[in-house]
């Protein structure tokens, strides 16, 4: 007991004779601050699930457990992702800039779960876009769809009203805005934009992944706003990935220069960082930091041309991208296999079955298909 008392005394910097009065106050407040920081808790149900697995392993003979330790059921991860998507937009904080707020609301008010790409105009007309890849062009107060001759008028009264382009999983779309900016939207993305930009500023809101080729206009900087990071542009080409189910928001810069504004909703204002071409910024929602690294830009933007280029990416990452692109589930039976890396280029124009055959070949895995799901596993090899 005495030892504990000594420990606690020594532990209380607030009474430390080596510190001055103000320093002790600081120590006291620092403690209070750390104690007031909310501690993240295991999500509902997860605690029990982990417990059940622990108890489950307790029944297995000692020698076998080590191997099985990191094999978490992929099923429950899929469930977690689905939950995150459906929760996105529910518990979000008010941002300081009202326009971003309004755009975000517009984005979260439409569901990504749909079989068709939809264009929702400011005057509440909805246009359904057919096909895997669609094309929308704004030009001279007209909206041209898929260069098929279908044309819609921009409602003159709603020029600054917000439109939303919703691209479900399995589809892609390209849109040319009124200022000439081209945006390639990847599967599972929503883009909110006005029919015509106002003076002084061009702003769009993105949820998902898109490649931007921004038309140069020094007088009207272009802003891409996302849930957790804003990007300011003068004229340049870059990719932004901000999926609700990813912890991380990232931007990859192909040409020009962009500025990132992160920690949008922090107490003491956001942080700015500049990017140069050939780099990728990853903003981590938890550590609230943006890290900028040199990357092979192709790897991140090849999807817009219908390729997936991977350089030492884990199979888990590759499969995550493929399942967004094709709207098929990809499951790996063995957790360790998912951590193995894959390098190569996949042609996404290919029929999915063809593509999967090639992929299985390259990774020496076997698979079977059941409805919209591919399940990959190790080929049977003699046990260790």
């Amino acid at each position: 007991m005495e030892e504990e008392d000594y420990g606690s005394l020594q532990n209380h910097l607030e009474n430390d004779p080596d510190l001055t009065g103000p320093e002790r106050v600081i120590a006291d407040n620092t403690r209070m601050l750390f104690e007031s920081v909310p501690q993240e808790k295991l999500p509902e149900g997860e605690k029990d699930r982990i417990w059940n697995r622990i108890i489950g392993y307790a029944q297995i003979p000692k020698a076998d457990t080590r191997k099985r330790l990191f094999r978490l059921a992929s099923w429950y991860r899929v469930a977690a992702v689905v939950t995150l998507i459906s929760l996105a937009g529910v518990g979000y904080k008010l941002l300081k800039r009202p326009d971003s707020d309004v755009m975000k609301q517009a984005a979260s008010s439409v569901s990504i779960e749909s079989t068709e790409t939809r264009l929702m105009l400011a005057d509440s007309r909805t246009i359904h876009l057919k096909g895997e890849n669609s094309d929308v062009v704004y030009q001279n107060d007209l909206i041209r769809i898929d260069s098929s001759g279908v044309e819609k008028n921009v409602n003159p009264a709603q020029k600054d009203g917000l439109n939303t382009l919703v691209v479900p999983y399995g589809k892609r779309s390209r849109i040319t805005l009124s200022d000439g900016t081209k945006i390639w939207l990847n599967s599972g993305s929503r883009l909110v934009y006005p029919s015509e930009f106002a003076e002084g500023k061009r702003a769009v809101y993105l949820d998902g992944q898109a490649y931007f080729a921004v038309a140069h206009d020094t007088d009207r900087p272009f802003y891409v706003q996302t849930d957790r990071m804003d990007i300011k542009v003068l004229g340049t080409e870059f990719d932004v990935s901000s999926y609700g189910d990813d912890q991380k928001v990232s931007a990859v810069l192909a040409k020009g220069s962009i500025e990132l504004l992160t920690q949008k909703d922090s107490f003491w204002g956001g942080q700015r960082s500049k990017m140069v071409p050939g780099t990728r910024a990853v903003y981590d929602g938890i550590s609230k930091r943006a890290q900028i690294d040199k990357v092979n830009v192709d790897e991140y933007i090849s999807w817009k041309d219908g390729y997936l280029i991977a350089r030492h990416q884990t199979l888990n990452e590759v499969f995550k991208k493929l399942s967004r692109y094709y709207k098929y589930d990809f499951t790996i039976q063995d957790e360790e296999v998912g951590m193995e890396t894959f390098s190569g280029s996949l042609d996404l124009h290919e029929d999915i079955d063809q593509m999967v055959i090639g992929l299985a070949d390259a990774t020496s895995l076997k698979y079977h298909k059941s409805e919209r799901r591919f399940i990959f596993e190790k080929k049977d090899t003699p046990s260790e």
Binding site: Q10, N29, V37, E40, E46, I54, S287, T314, M339
Partner: protein, 195 residues
């Protein structure tokens, strides 16, 4: 103190074979370890895997575990080692997202929650303090976190961060003095007066 003692009681029961005590320990520590893990990495799945792994280890090595330990410290330290191993493993696969050299895998960052403190002036002061704490070097932030959030003593922190006890003390003092230097004298006086 009572909390600590019942931890020790639970630990003793568990090491002598009680399943119930093991369950209670899990109940008490799962969330805490989760929050702790997320200070070091943003990979929630990895943190969950490590929690699972840690408790399975405890079950398997039950007979060999020391009876007389500071439970919280013991769990945090073992857990941190697990996280470190797991993140090193993950780093091989995705170089972009992990800092290989650093022990602290991702940065510490936190902000004062508004609703826990009601007094306006104190809140302002805490916010100013939070800004400064966020600017401290990562290692110093980590020490403050272990010290103030988890109430570890210098020996424990030193052992966990693989530094010497005097270095650990120096770090804490330096952090406090640095914070004091940064904050407006008037703010501190205000608090002194408020106390």
């Amino acid at each position: 103190m009572i909390v600590d003692k019942s931890d020790i009681e639970l630990w003793e029961l568990f090491t002598s074979g009680s399943q119930t005590a093991f369950g209670r320990l899990y109940d008490k520590y799962a969330d805490l370890l989760y929050a702790f893990g997320l200070r070091y990495t943003s990979d929630k799945d990895m943190v969950k895997d490590c929690i699972q792994d840690l408790f399975i280890d405890l079950l398997h090595y039950r007979d060999e575990l020391a009876k007389d330990v500071n439970v919280r410290f013991y769990l945090l330290k073992s857990f941190k080692r697990k996280l470190h191993t797991a993140s090193k493993k993950a780093a091989i696969f995705s170089l972009n997202e992990w800092d290989l050299d650093d022990k602290v895998v991702s940065g510490f960052s936190f902000s004062a929650e508004q609703d826990t403190v009601s007094d306006e002036r104190q809140r302002e002061m805490l916010q100013a303090l939070a800004v400064e704490i966020n600017k401290l070097p990562e290692r110093q932030k980590e020490i403050l976190y272990l010290k103030f959030t988890h109430n570890l003593d210098y020996e424990e922190i030193a052992s966990m961060m693989q530094i010497s006890v005097p270095t650990c003390r120096t770090f804490v003092y330096r952090a406090i003095k640095e914070l004091r230097g940064k904050l407006e004298i008037s703010t501190i006086l205000l608090i002194l007066w408020a106390l």
